[in-house]
Every structure is written in structure tokens, then in C-alpha cells.
């Protein structure tokens, strides 16, 4: 078991024939991901990486039965690509592209919600179910199969966390990089209950950072719904204030945003909070024994 994706998930790649799309699709196929084709406008009918190329997502879905799309299109076209996937009946879009305009993501996510499509990202490493299905840009070799679920806003901290968990002799069920943009798809509060429901997942590692209040919302949810042990790290305890956050934006969610506040909220919810990412593996060991 795992969450969201497994070896049977049929995946297409939007932006399939581009440099990034090609490189990472190749890596995903090598990992075992069931990539059934891709989409690049005006290249329909061609074959790329031994898979069929389609002009539209609708054609790709009709022909392959794909339910998941991995999106690599350039930032200016991401919103368009996500909306196309939603209308074509894709169930989960994994948006890797970095630098998508915020306005486009607002529109795209609202449209995805309307069509019942889940999204992950943008600006994220993607999702991986260990030794089954990798949809994204993470180095697959560090994710050994096991019983720890991982959710992270940061790409490299996902690798760091997974690597430590595996070095302690445990492994990963599914790891999801949710991205750190202001507008993101699935977040802690959608993914935590999935791990809670997954019989194989015995422990959850949650990695957050400063800004916004998703981690505070997660703390409230964990207190009420999550019975499995959770380890958390919040990056940015030493980050200077006000460097990235807009002035007026800060008051919308109260004074939320500091690492300290998030760590306290998670601790109060019974989460094992570590002060350094170097301690993630040890904390998992402590909880799983």
C-alpha cells in the first residue's frame, strides 16, 4: 500500500519532448513508473522515449486511460496546462515547474477544484511511492521501501529526511513534495489523513518552513485526527524577518509565519519536533523503536 500513486498508476507527461521533460521522464521510466505517453502540441503522432506523443491531454487520456499527469511546461504556460488536464479528466496533476505566476495558479487551482482534480506543486520535487512509482525529479535511489510517510515543502529537505530514515534501517511508503509557493495543491491537511488511512504507513515525517500558516492548520488536524506518530521539522528558525513576506499580507493570517510559533503548535499537538533536520532519522527511530 501507499498513497495517491503506485506501480499501476498510468502517467502522462505534459511538456514531454522538452529538455527537462525528456530527461526526467526517462529517469521515471527507469525507476519503473508506468509512463504511458506524453503531450506536446504539434508533435502528436510521434514517438518519444518509445511512448506515444499526443497534441492534447484529452487525446492522451482517451487513448491511454491515463489518470495522472506530470507537468514540465514552461512557467508562463503552467496555468493553461493544469486547466487542460482538469478538463480532460486527469485525477492528479503533479506540477514540477518553478516560477509560475501566482495569478495563473489561483485560476488553475480553482478550475482543478471545480473538476475534482487534485494537484501537487507547483515548484516541487513531485511524489514518489518507494520502489514503485516516481513522478518528479527526486533521486529515486535514496527512497527505499518501508513504512514512513513523508510530506515536505522543500525538495532537498525531502531527500535529506528520506535518506536519514533509510540510513536508520527504515524506509518510505510515499514521499510527497508539496512545494513552497504561495498557492499550492495538496497540503498537509489533505495528505496527513491519507497516511493515517494507509495501513502500511506507521510513522509520518512532516517538514515545513516559515511563512503562511499551513503547519498551524496541520497541528490542529493532527490533534484531532492523526493517531500515528509524527516527526516534524520547521526550517527557518534563524531566517531574518520580512525578507520574503509582503507587509500587508502578514496580517491576513494574524501574526502567523514564524518557525517558533509553528514548532510550538505542533509540539502542543503531540508531534515530536526536532530543532535540526540532522535529527529527523533519530527521531523516527525513537518513535518506531
Amino acid at each position: 500500500m501507499s498513497i495517491l500513486v503506485n506501480k499501476d498508476s498510468k502517467v502522462i507527461v505534459q511538456g514531454f519532448t522538452g529538455k527537462e521533460g525528456t530527461f526526467h521522464a526517462e529517469q521515471c521510466i527507469a525507476y519503473g513508473t508506468n509512463i504511458v505517453g506524453g503531450v506536446t502540441p504539434n508533435k502528436g503522432g510521434q514517438t518519444h522515449l518509445e511512448k506515444p506523443v499526443f497534441n492534447t491531454v484529452a487525446q492522451a487520456v482517451a487513448s491511454t486511460g491515463a489518470t495522472v499527469s506530470m507537468i514540465f511546461v514552461p512557467p508562463a504556460f503552467v496555468g493553461d496546462a493544469v486547466m487542460e488536464a482538469a478538463e480532460a479528466g486527469i485525477e492528479l496533476a503533479v506540477i514540477i515547474t518553478e516560477g509560475a505566476p501566482i495569478k495563473d495558479m489561483q485560476m488553475a487551482k480553482a478550475h482543478a477544484n471545480k473538476h475534482g482534480m487534485m494537484t501537487i506543486g507547483p515548484n516541487c520535487p513531485g511524489i514518489i511511492t518507494a520502489e514503485e512509482c516516481k513522478i518528479g525529479i527526486m533521486p529515486g535511489s535514496i527512497f527505499k521501501k518501508g513504512n514512513v510517510g513523508l510530506i515536505s515543502k522543500s525538495g532537498t529537505l525531502t531527500y535529506e529526511g528520506a535518506n536519514q530514515v533509510c540510513n536508520e534501517g527504515y524506509g518510505i511508503t510515499t514521499a510527497v513534495g508539496i512545494g513552497g509557493d504561495p498557492i499550492i495543491g495538496l497540503s498537509y491537511n489533505q495528505i496527513l489523513p491519507m497516511f493515517e488511512a494507509d495501513p502500511e504507513t506507521k510513522c509520518i515525517v512532516m517538514i515545513g518552513e516559515i511563512g503562511g500558516d499551513l503547519e498551524i492548520q496541520a497541528a490542529a488536524l493532527i490533534k484531532e485526527q492523526i493517531t500515528k506518530p509524527v516527526v516534524a521539522f520547521i526550517a527557518g528558525q534563524t531566517a531574518p524577518k520580512g525578507k520574503t513576506m509582503g507587509h500587508a499580507g502578514a496580517i491576513v493570517s494574524g501574526s502567523a509565519g514564524t518557525a517558533k510559533e509553528k514548532m510550538e503548535a505542533l509540539e502542543a499537538a503531540g508531534v515530536k519536533v526536532v530543532v535540526s533536520p540532522a535529527d529527523i532519522g533519530k527521531a523516527v527511530k525513537e518513535l518506531l523503536g
Binding site: 501566482i102 525529479i137 531527500y159 535529506e160 534563524t238 509582503g246 500587508a248 496580517i251 491576513v252 535540526s276
Partner: protein, 393 residues
Amino acid sequence: MNIHEYQAKQIFAKYGVPTPKGIMVESVKDAVVAAETLGGPVWVVKAQIHAGGRGLGGGVKLAKSLEEVEALANEILGMTLVTHQTTAEGKLVQKLYIEDGADIQSELYLSVVLDRKLEMPLIMASTEGGMNIEDVAENTPEKIVTIPVDPAIGFQGFHGRQLAFGLGITDKNEQKNIISFAQKLFKLYMEKDAEMIEINPLVKTGDGEFLALDGKMGFDNSALGRQPEIAAMRDLSEEDADEIEAAKYGLSYVALDGEIGCMVNGAGLAMGTMDTINHMGGTPANFLDVGGSANAETVAKGFEIILKNPNVKAIFVNIFGGIVRCDRIANGIIEATKITDVNVPVIVRLDGTNAPEAAEILKNANIANLIVGDDLGDGAAKAVKAAAEFKGK
């Protein structure tokens, strides 16, 4: 990206958002000419820097004669303004905005921001204009009206009515004016890919008109490619020179006041590395994310920027290679030691893609001062120790 008040008001004017007339100047002489052109009888002399709280800091003053305009321009131009939004060193005032005085009957607050929870723009308004809005939110939250606007339907009549009634505006002419004001502001927020617009104060004049007395705007950096007119308004002198230099090479750099230079891939791991150093009793000298396309040249540049900081006593290179290949980073380190004089200890921890190749490259290079860290915790501990020893020398 942020812009100056005078630039925000240029954009307001294009969208028909009413503002007092004003002229931006960069010398005392031009300030007087501007005041003459505007006609008076009252002017406001305003420092143009990218920070709020200018009035309290002494950067916004009223003049009742051309002589006063001259005296105030002399006083404010070239001063270093310290406000609650600047650093303790403050910001040098290089530009002034000379503006017509307004007939102020009351002061309001109006802003449009992105509400991350609702995932849509939010109009915020308050009758408590001219005050710090954080204080209003803290002490009298009932005095703030919030109106989310779904971009799919845009600014509708009911949004306007919520705003007008929320602010307690009963006069029909005034209602029409404030609704029109907010509608235009929302339109420009969407069309210009703004992240934040704040007007504090928004004033009501004696004849029931509303004027943007101040204007603060921030834009979505990811959208600047399709907003060339906005991108052209960037004022590099308001930004940190090292950060700009780093950005040219795809590096994201922020200077801090500690002693251990950090070079890391990924923003999350970069922050996590700083936190780890801090936890082990050291102090980070900077945040530096080398990004996904790091190569020998960018790594060498990163070293150069870190070493410009005289407080640096050691450098911790912490890479977990995903897209970034460790062998490229290793070559970058060797390159850097050739170009730049690296006299502080360098602690290197390379893990992930091509890490064994990288270890081999570094081993063969025989660089003095180089210490290998086995993992994040080990690397950070060695960096803290090495910095302390270097300091002791």
C-alpha cells in the same frame, strides 16, 4: 518586487484611481521648480524609499511656502531614513516626491493582498487610516472590513456595497466614489500581477472625493516577464548589491550577521543548515541557495560572494544532489580555490547524485583547509569547531 510611491501613483493615474498631483525630483532645485509647477498653496515633501513608516521617521513633511519646500528638500534629500520597516542602518533618500496638499476630511485604509488560505485576492479596508494596520488588527479588529474577490467573477456590485457599508459610508455620492475607486484598484491589481497594493491613508476630501494619499505596491516576481512596464520600474539602488550580483548567477543570497558562510542547494535545506549551525552553537553568516543548475562557475561565484564578508571564519558547503550533481559542485570548489584566495577552512558535505565521484575528485585535488563532513550533523559540527579554531588563531 517593490516600487516607489511615485511609481505606484503613475500606475494609479493610468487606471483612473484618483491621487493628488505630484512630481518626482532628485535635486533641491528641481523640488522648487516642481512646487512652482504644482502651484500650491500647500505642498508635501516626501522621501521616496522602499519602506513604510516614512512619516514617523521624519521623511514626509508639509510645506506652506516655496522657501519651506526648499528647506525641507534640503533636509530630507540625502538623509538616512530609519523606520520600523528598514534595517537599523536605514535607507539613503535619493528621490523626493513633491505633492499637492489635499483637503483632508477623514483618513481611511485600503489594500488588496493575496489571501493564501482562501487562495484569492482580498480587499481590506478600515476607517482607521494613517495608523499602522497591524496595530488596528491587534487592538480593534472589528474596524477592519475584509472582502475576498474571486478572480473568476471579478469585482462585482455586491463587493462594492460590502465595502461602502462596511466603512459606514451613507452618502450616495460618496458610496459611488469609493466603489469606483476600489473597482479600478482591483482591476489594476489583477492586470498588473500585483501581489500587494496598500493605500494608507486613503483620504476623503471636503467634497466627498477619495484620494490615494500614499501608494505602496509589490509585484509577483514570477510574472515580471509579461509585465515589462513594471519590470522597468525596478530600482536597484533599493536592493542589496550582493544579492543582485548573486542573482545574476542564479544564486539566491541573503547576508546575515554570523561567522559561518553557507553554500547549500535548495531553500529548505539552506534554512535547515543555518538552523543546524545555530543549534550547534555557531552562527550562520548567510543564506545561499545555489539552485538547481549549479556548475563550477556558479559555485566559484558563491565562494567569492561569501568571502566578501569579513566576518566569515569558515564555509560549510552542504549539498544533497538531486538535479544538482555533486561532481559539478566538487569541480566548482576546486575552481573557486584557484580563482579566489580561500583562506578559511571549508567543510564539504556532498550526498546524493554522483557523490562518490565527487569524493574522488576532492580527494585527488589535495586542497588545504578542506574538511569532509559525513552527513549534515557531522558537517555542521565540524564547521562550528573549525570556525572557532580559526578565530582563535
